[in-house]
Symmetry: C2
Subunit: 137 residues, 2 copies
DNA sequence: TCCTAACTTGGACTTTGTCCAAGTCAACAC
DNA sequence: GTGTTGACTTGGACAAAGTCCAAGTTAGGA
């Protein structure tokens, strides 16, 4: 967390209270908030923060590689601060809950050259879907 | 195609000209249209078709398992009629082009029980990302 | 040919995200 | 400390994607 802010400052980030609050809201594991949720939580601490700033800051964090953008449902994008440890997502088809998961092997390796059609493939995102324990009942 | 309409009729679908046109627009492989694109192409054949009907019809086709909804970018959802042959997607980070691809093995098998957290996991969607031949230049 | 439940329509509305001109302030230099 | 300045923030307008609904139309069985 502090190291995140440190790292950003070293890269020339101007450390404003707004950016600090957004970074704090995104701290932790298994955090997958929408921009609106980030805004709501940030506004709880810094009431006058604007939606535009939250969108700007999230976009910058993504561009800097500190936060991942995940599109699991075609609705709002979600922001995942767990960017430095490779993982995939398990999404509940009932309630939309999201867990970080760690499958075996490298999903990229499963795509043979013949199936790459000349693309320079650099990443593979896996979304597992199913019902969570609560929604199974 | 005709068999699709047949199958739907057997399931009690009322076969209107609007639905027929939407189904026709979605015919083929490597088709990944947004709802708006489907509407534009459908309107070329049936000028008065409304956006609402296109959305309704696409939603029904998805619910019936005849069409897949893919959310590759957090923007508009895309609709993939190739629902009966398992495949994954390769997306160009430059221009957004999408290809159906067939990785080795079953991606579901890569998620060990210990990483399922009590979920009843039923599906795995993989999105490979990279630059297509045109965008690499 | 008639009837009716199912389907379609257009428009209003919501959600999610982007853009911009004007105002504010963090960080550096002194 | 104080001043300066370019980077950052703000609110509001706008755009894109999708949902909802009351009123009108129609496919398909009787």
């Amino acid at each position: 967390m502090t190291d995140l802010l440190e790292r950003l400052r070293e890269r020339g980030w101007r450390l404003t209270s707004q950016r600090r609050v957004v970074a704090e809201v995104l701290d932790g594991e298994h955090v997958h908030l929408t921009a609106d949720e980030v805004h709501a939580r940030a506004a709880a601490r810094l009431p006058e923060i604007s939606r535009a700033t939250v969108y700007n800051t999230l976009g910058e964090l993504v561009a800097l590689g500190e936060v991942l953008e995940v599109a699991t449902d075609g609705r709002a994008r979600r922001y995942d601060p767990n960017a430095h440890r490779a993982h995939q997502h398990l999404v509940c088809s009932g309630c939309g809950a999201i867990r970080d998961v760690h499958p075996n092997g490298d999903p990229l390796a499963a795509l043979p050259a013949a199936e790459r059609f000349g693309f320079a493939v650099t990443a593979a995102e896996v979304t597992y879907r199913g019902l969570c324990p609560d929604c199974r009942r």
